[in-house]
């Protein structure tokens, strides 16, 4: 063995690529599992981006492609979690707003909160409107009207 070979072996340690690929596939499986759980907890909210670029399969991916896939999944998971956190915070604030509207409707004139705004299914909405139309408007009689749900399919 020449000195150059010895130096190369010291600088570039042998890597068991098959074992590394197996480990990366395990990581991909774990991240996919977390992404699947997140997908279910996000429902019925919409507008999240779930895409993770693929490498044109089906084929055996090399180490670099698997690393890119793992990083892409981790990044997507992080972004969706952050986005979900921001949305749930806003939804919680709107739930508080509904409670305040119910207590003092006159303070929240014409304010409307939909189910969608609080992360729930359906078309129900809470609206602060004058009681008895123009009479309530003139006399300052306000109430919160809760709609009965989605319109019937025609």
């Amino acid at each position: 063995m020449t000195t150059l070979d010895v130096q190369r072996r010291l600088l570039l340690p042998e890597v068991d690529e098959a074992a590394a690929r197996r480990s990366l596939r395990e990581q991909v499986a774990r991240l996919e599992s977390e992404l699947g759980a997140l997908f279910c907890s996000v429902y019925p909210r919409t507008g999240f981006d779930w895409r993770v670029p693929s490498s044109g399969g089906p084929r055996v991916l090399d180490l670099r492609e698997l690393e890119l896939l793992r990083d892409g999944l981790a990044e997507r998971l992080h972004r969706v979690r952050r986005e979900l956190g921001e949305r749930t915070f806003a939804e919680e604030e709107r739930r508080g707003l509904i409670e305040r509207m119910l207590l003092e409707p006159a303070r929240y004139k014409w304010v409307r909160v939909r189910n969608e705004d609080i992360g729930e299914r359906g078309c129900k909405e809470y609206r602060s409107v004058p009681r008895l139309g123009p009479i309530g408007l003139l006399l300052g009689w306000w109430r919160v009207k809760i709609s009965s749900g989605c319109p019937l399919a025609t």
Partner: protein, 212 residues
């Protein structure tokens, strides 16, 4: 009904040790679905709700295929796994649409078990079906499109007959003149063998109209 195991190329087996192919032969072709099969699809549509479609990603068998798709470079949000593709079609069309006996049988088996099935014309493929990687410069079914390097293929002893979870070589699929069919189910890590066998039994039962 006898389920046989297809061969797995050594290189592919070293990468995916739990990958397996299960094959069953059916001594008939496809055709129009009888009323009882259409009725079964309809009943299945009624049981299949939006909530179940959303939860699909957390069911162990569909999840295992989703993970496998990721691991082999397929984006399951673009190239849907068969179970998810059926769920999406159910939501978009308001029910599972009847196409023909074979497609209906595969849909029923896939929805009930989560295991995808692919069918070939048994007279147009070799005797030994298996899974292997593509060779440099290889074409799908010898004269089809050029395949990329190390692509996962369903092949017989002579040639590739389909890309795994992808397109099929010309003339290998089931057509109106098919007299015998080969139903193949791919087992991936995390999918119990009993689920794969149940999928094949269900498909055979629907096609032949008798208990497998």
């Amino acid at each position: 009904m006898k389920v046989t195991s297809g061969w797995i190329d050594a290189e592919l087996a070293s990468e995916f040790p739990q990958l397996a192919l299960h094959v069953v032969e059916v001594g008939c072709g496809s055709g129009k679905s009888p009323p009882e099969v259409r009725e079964r699809l309809k009943a299945m549509s009624d049981r299949y709700t939006g909530g179940r479609a959303v939860q699909l990603r957390q069911e162990p068998v569909p999840w295992a295929y989703r993970v496998f798709f990721r691991q082999v470079g397929l984006d399951p949000d673009e190239s849907r796994t068969p179970a998810e593709a059926l769920a999406l079609a159910r939501m978009q069309h308001g029910g599972f649409k009847s196409a023909n006996l074979l497609d209906d049988a595969i849909a029923i088996a896939t929805v009930e078990t989560g295991v995808p099935i692919v069918a070939f014309d048994a007279d147009r493929v070799g005797r030994e079906i298996g899974l292997r990687l593509s060779r440099p410069g290889e074409r799908l079914g010898e004269d089809g499109r050029e395949l990329s390097v190390r692509q996962l293929l369903v092949a017989d002893e002579d040639r590739s007959i389909a890309v795994l979870f992808g397109d099929m070589a010309d003339g290998r699929g089931v057509h109106p003149g098919t007299r015998r069919m080969l139903l193949c189910a791919v087992q991936v890590k995390g999918v119990p063998q009993v689920s794969v066998e149940e999928a094949l039994w269900t498909a055979v039962e629907v096609i032949t109209g008798e208990s497998a």
